[in-house]
Symmetry: C2
Subunit: 334 residues, 2 copies
């Protein structure tokens, strides 16, 4: 698992809507120190507020990697981008892509990278192989985010936990398991792209033995309640062997995303199901808090809701975006 | 998903022990009508009792496919086999392999197959891509075998159920999800080799909509209690949407295979965990019987044990190898 070197030049492609540049936005939100500039191509109107830097200028600005942090239609790398990609390599940059299409499939790009001594990172597609999981206990401490559904703020919540712990001077690492997280961390594995036999093994690889005071804060994936993706989630749970589970939920979501009539579970049922799953590989697994996306509520409603939830599930509850995660970290450390 | 054409010529490689030819033995046990001959290479002393047929004779005997049904060290295709492989193609045979090494990686074999109009099947390695699972209900009926552990007789049990149902003139198909099963069926998908995001989708593909009286009898994989492989099992459960679950267990097994101190679960706990998992995608899922490998017991002990189990879990229980599965099929159809 090689590191993607920072600083980054964030490529915004041809995007006109911020939502299709949300990977780039996420990197900037969580690792502003890694982001030294932005580059838009024809028609691009998205502006992240970074300096506009050309490929030719990038190297002199100390930039190490061109990051493709947008979502063109179908995840395809447009052929109109090819000149930029070759130019990046020629100007001394590595390239990292979160697209479905692979950089290594762009004609001649691998040969060019090789001859120039540059790296290509297709972060959606793990390039290494993993052993099967062993289930053997490991030293150190692990927290894993799990959700009532997909896309309920698991990555945001774990990054907020990491940030809070870093600010308290604790030994902590965010462990990325999906593409945006990998750009943010600089390393990680897209576990949903790992062959099913090796998912728990990949999770074991990602959070190896560590010191007694160290915490790996592991980005969750999918949901045990999603009929499409629960296999990924279960392998990640078993391999992560979490000591601490963080429950994530979006207020007002009633139907599992992308399904027809699959209900979002009750929080108490959700807690039971995740605990049963986690305790196969870690008998001490327990929930340490709930992170809620309360964006559909007013400030007053949100505070009231969080108090209610805290009473209902008996865990510190917050909206990490609005109110931070200090009280969850307080609980985690006691 | 293309059919592997029968009749087969079973290649026994250089094996001297039947246990390393158990794939070939399994095919012969369950589909004797598909097995027209055997071929051993240098040093081979295993004999399945089939006619010894050379590659040159095979076509004139009506044989369509050379099946590599053995397990050489490391799953490697020995280079000493290469002449046989090319000769098979030249003599009009397709080749199907259950080895870890791929036929398509044997130098020039793909080109030879293409020019001769022959097929190569690497049954461990799915060559097709799958959609993500939808969780949408499908017509027809499905039974899935699940286990207290891996390697407890799930394939044997489902093949026994299929055979019993065929003998009763019912509409039934065995659905293969692993390599030996694929040779037996002639088609299927090694679901443990599918990328984790698509496991439930592959399972949906394998047991599509069908008539109201039709049963797909789906071979299980792994176990929800195995820390290495539970992800595969959960994706298969969700995608299969089983109406009927068949519990499989090996009597006397106390530790999960390949692990250090993971206990085999109590049957009642096992039933609860599988039902909870299955009911995400099929609210009507229920257990219909237990299949036990009682080979460690005497006939008298086994009968006594099965009566006890039947009382304990309230389901028809049998050892399919010793006593068949008639009473489980009786229950399934009422």
């Amino acid at each position: 698992m090689q590191n993607i070197l920072a600083p980054y030049l964030l490529c915004l492609g041809n995007e006109t809507q911020l939502t299709f540049a949300k990977t780039a936005k996420g990197i900037l939100d969580w690792r502003p120190e890694k982001c030294r500039g932005q580059i838009g191509l024809e028609g691009c109107t998205v502006d992240l507020g970074l300096d506009d830097i050309t490929i030719e200028q990038a190297s002199s600005k100390g930039i190490k990697t061109l990051v493709l942090g947008v979502a063109p239609p179908g995840g395809v790398i447009p052929t109109s981008w090819y000149p930029m990609l070759f130019s990046a390599l020629e100007n001394g940059l590595d390239i990292a892509s979160g697209l479905h299409d692979k950089l290594i499939d762009v004609p001649n790009l691998v040969a060019s990278a090789k001859s120039l001594g540059r790296q290509l990172f297709d972060v959606r597609h793990p390039s290494q192989s993993f052993a099967v999981g062993t289930g053997e206990p490991r030293s150190g401490n692990r927290l894993l985010a799990v959700g009532t559904d997909c896309a309920v703020g698991k990555m945001y919540s774990t990054l907020a936990i990491e940030k809070e712990m870093l600010e308290r001077g604790l030994e902590v690492d965010f462990v990325a398991t999906g593409q945006t997280g990998i750009f943010i961390s600089g390393k990680g594995v897209s576990v949903d792209a790992v062959v099913s036999d090796f998912v728990s093994g990949a999770a074991e690889f990602l959070s190896p033995d560590n010191g007694p005071d160290h915490w790996d804060i592991i980005e969750g994936q999918g949901s045990l309640f999603h009929p499409s993706y629960a296999a990924v989630t279960l392998g990640l749970i078993h391999g992560s062997q979490p000591d601490a589970l963080l429950l994530c939920h979006e207020v007002g979501r009633t139907e599992i995303i992308g399904t027809n009539n699959y209900p979002v579970p009750e929080l108490k049922d959700c807690i039971d199901v995740y605990l049963n799953a986690a305790r196969l590989t870690n008998k001490q697994a327990k929930f340490v808090g709930g992170c809620f996306n309360t964006s559909s509520l007013s400030d007053e409603q949100a505070k009231h809701y969080l108090i209610q939830m805290q009473q209902s599930i008996g865990l510190p509850c917050s909206d990490p975006y609005r109110y931070g995660v200090a009280k969850i970290v307080d609980g985690l450390l006691t």
